[in-house]
Symmetry: C2
Subunit: 260 residues, 2 copies
């Protein structure tokens, strides 16, 4: 309820949600899906519609300059909510989470959650992506294998422990509150983000993650992963056909990248 003298700002509350992303891989679309699934809020997932590819291509076309309200987008995932069109994964999550009950709607909590999410995506998405594409996104993996092997060595030895260590520190902080959660003593979109980051990294580097789990240094992180996986709505989603298997997206399983 807005107070009587609150300014009237046009919002899209009540409008349907649409996710526009490439079909066939979980990719960067998956973090958006997890928010909708946990919240139990209906959404159209264009990756599973006949217009999946063409919807993305239309938005990212060099000819597309947006409209009077919306600037153009560079890449997917894209969120359409009524007349609003947003891109950039952490931005979409920031927009959605308070509306879906997965972040506070006022105060500074949203900035704490945003920084946790940005950090997790930096490590487990952006940096991880470049383990198989360290030279250029436009080249095949096969054309950058020696560089991928080098980068993966350091990613496994230095970067995964760094980002897991950070996540454990966040859990060890008083600001994380009671329970297994990252912030404020309750489930937020940061927890869902961590789940998908770790789930993908387990797929890409299974031996490395197993070893790090056995070290006992990140028990809170792995406990949180298990907790999210068993949330009723998340669990139902993961068991459903809506959950797309990993493939040639961000998270790829190339066993040679894990070999000593």
């Amino acid at each position: 309820m807005s107070s009587p003298d609150a300014k009237r700002v046009k919002t899209n509350d009540g409008a349907p949600y649409e996710l526009i992303y490439w079909p066939g891989i979980p990719g960067r679309g998956e973090w958006v899906r997890l928010l909708f699934e946990e919240a139990g809020v209906p959404y159209t997932d264009h990756a599973k519609e006949a217009d999946g590819v063409s919807a993305v291509l239309e938005y990212i076309s060099a000819e597309n300059v947006g409209d009077a309200t919306n600037p153009p987008v560079l890449a997917s995932p894209i969120l359409k909510h009524g007349d609003l069109v947003l891109h950039q994964l952490p931005n979409i999550l920031l927009y959605l989470a308070p509306k879906l009950g997965l972040a506070p709607t006022e105060g500074d909590g949203v900035f704490f959650l945003n920084q946790i999410v940005l950090t997790l995506l930096d490590g487990f998405v952006n940096e991880l992506h470049d383990t198989h594409h360290p030279v250029a996104t436009s080249l095949y993996y096969e054309d950058q294998k020696p560089e991928a092997k080098k980068r993966s060595k350091y990613f496994i030895a230095e970067r995964i422990p760094k980002f897991l260590g950070y996540t454990q520190r966040v859990l060890d902080s008083k600001a994380s509150g009671e329970g297994p959660w990252l912030y404020g003593g309750k489930l937020t979109y940061a927890d869902l983000t961590l789940f998908q980051c770790l789930d993908g990294t387990k797929y890409a580097f299974p031996k490395s993650i197993e070893k790090l789990q056995k070290s006992g240094k990140y028990d809170g992180v792995f406990k949180l992963y298990d907790t999210v996986k068993e949330l009723p709505n998340i669990n139902k989603y993961l068991e459903s056909k809506r959950r797309i298997p990993y493939g040639d997206g961000i998270f790829r399983y190339y066993p040679e990248l894990e070999e000593e």
Copy 2:
């Protein structure tokens, strides 16, 4: 002004601003500085204080688990505003910009600005950084020169044009409004962000940027760069000793990375 029945939320309004970042390079701290400088708002820049290095080290220490309010931080820049401690550059900018008059304080505009800023930082900071450090941040440039040369070739040929093209599309959008600005017909922190991204990229890859400028495809982008550079407060800052010269930070000049 809050409405009479607005909930009372504790804020740090009126508290002093402090930037905690490494001394000696503009680095990721520079985007934060530009907001303060344009707004004419006083801030303590610890990079220029005796405690510059130790302030960063204290925050990023593996022993630091934040406090009851603030989760711990992974890396600098760090913003301290009263009791609040934030990290992650795009998050700090998102927090500051509405308070400094460089973003709307309500409505969806802040999400459009955030997505533009995230995209610019993805291209001209994160991807650019890896042109000189494609294998590992922990290695010297000299130990990853062949890989750096390969990555730079694709960065120059594909990625700089991609991100400049995106920026020009944002300017061509009706949503950019009147004048040279990226969004809503007035100066915002997205414009300041673009300035610093392009300024650093010009330093790192001067020949490539000159060639792209001469192509005439990105005239709006270069005009916006010039406009921001001549803003009175920005110009005064750039001419002052407070502006730290580029060095061994994100933006480095290695002529061999530009050679054919």
